[in-house]
């Protein structure tokens, strides 16, 4: 579903990604961990071209994202993204957030979009909150609206960038619950997060990134219990102490 090869990304003199390869099969959930600043967000953002790699290739669902002839706005509908800070539109209701792209990009009528929007909000357990503004919702609810906004477009892939890092601990569970359900529905997912419990239960593969490279990858049990590299071991014991 995703084939990213030899991704390099430089911001001026700063070399953030140093040749990353990422292959994600259909229905697979790949979980990415790594220290802050190791390039996880940048990697994820290359997968929907919010960031343009300095070199390498990115193909998602058969679409070459780096080909200048690619209709990027069309391609992006198939690649949902969820951000650490939710990034909901504060001037719109939850339903408005979910339906904007349905109406403006997917070309649905308002009635159609509202119907799809209500269904998406119901999927994340927020059917009753459709008319609320983001400011009237808890962090967990906001993040679930953000997930609804992405899944309403029926993406083929979902990218999550630390979706629970900005949440109070008691709100994390509701968001992870929605992600579990999404995973069980067969969605292909790439998740950057430090929620080890979720990774153990839901991930097919865990990748450890450090300093712009994938240091090692494997099934969750292997990476968490028997990592091959000292750096991975060090990082995992560090986050388990928290």
């Amino acid at each position: 579903m995703i084939q990213a090869k030899g991704i390099h990304k430089q911001f001026g003199a700063l070399h953030v990604l140093k040749g990353v390869d990422l292959d994600v099969a259909e229905r697979e959930l790949v979980f990415i961990i790594g220290p802050s600043g190791s390039g996880k967000s940048t990697m994820l953002r290359c997968l929907n071209r919010l960031e343009v790699p300095t070199s390498g290739s990115v193909v998602v669902d058969g679409i070459d994202l780096l080909d200048p002839r690619t209709d990027l706005n069309h391609a992006r509908q198939r690649i949902g993204m969820v951000f650490q800070s939710f990034n909901l539109y504060p001037h719109m209701t939850a339903l408005g957030n979910v339906t904007l792209a349905l109406r403006k990009v997917a070309g649905k009528s308002r009635a159609e979009a509202d119907e799809i929007g209500h269904a998406a909000l119901a999927r994340v357990g927020l059917a009753e909150r459709a008319d609320h503004r983001p400011g009237q919702l808890s962090g967990g609810q906001q993040q679930r609206v953000a997930i609804a906004r992405a899944i309403a477009l029926e993406p083929r892939v979902m990218l999550f960038d630390e979706p629970t890092s900005a949440l109070d601990p008691e709100l994390v569970g509701s968001v992870l619950g929605v992600m579990r359900a999404l995973r069980e529905s067969g969605m292909t997912m790439v998740v950057v997060s430090h929620e080890m419990g979720f990774a153990r239960a839901a991930a097919d593969r865990v990748m450890f990134m450090d300093d712009g490279l994938i240091v090692e990858q494997g099934p969750p049990a292997q990476i968490f219990e028997a990592p091959l590299h000292a750096r991975t071991r060090g990082f995992i014991s560090q986050i388990q102490r928290h």
Binding site: L50, M81, F83, N87, A106
Partner: protein, 223 residues
Amino acid sequence: MGGWERFTETFLNAKVMARYWPDIVSGLGTTIELAALIVVSGLAAGLALAVLRSFGIRVVNWGIIFVVDLFRALPPLVIIVLIYFGLPSIDVVPSGFVSTWLSLALVLMAFSEEIFWAGITAIPRGQWEAARSTGLGFTQTLAHVILPQALRITIPPLTNRTIAITKGTALGSVVAVTEILGQASSAVSNSYNPSPLTLGAAAYLVLFIPVVVFGRWVERKFR
């Protein structure tokens, strides 16, 4: 004649006021017309420039910044006089009304462009990214996500700046615009009595006090 009598005779002369109040009212009409034109065209042009600037085309942005700084630096009266007395030398002969309108609209354009631009850049990058990640294009994101939020935060500074510039319509009296001050000044020279100026000041208060009160309300509401 006592001091008070002399004062009323000079500034509140009933006979003079009775004779000239229709002129002042007609001046009020002209001021309102001029002010409305300045506000609509100045803000529209300012918003258009700010939107154009957000496309990030370097040469275009240099031009915008130059024009904006120019009209923010020049005193409005200097611009009015330049247009009114300067343009005829290239065979364009604008009336005093048009010169004043153009000048103040350009000044409002310049100041409002900066305010709109500050509003657009104040919206967090995450809003752009969220919208673009759902497939919205640049202009769609600007129109549906960024501008509605940016406009809201620009309303208080914009209201204040608009009021300040609109009061500059009084400068039109210098180039023979028959707005409030123009009417009052000619009434003064015809009657040899300053009472029409009192009427003129009253007309400005009638016009601008509600606007200032509105501005205060807007500031409180949108802060």
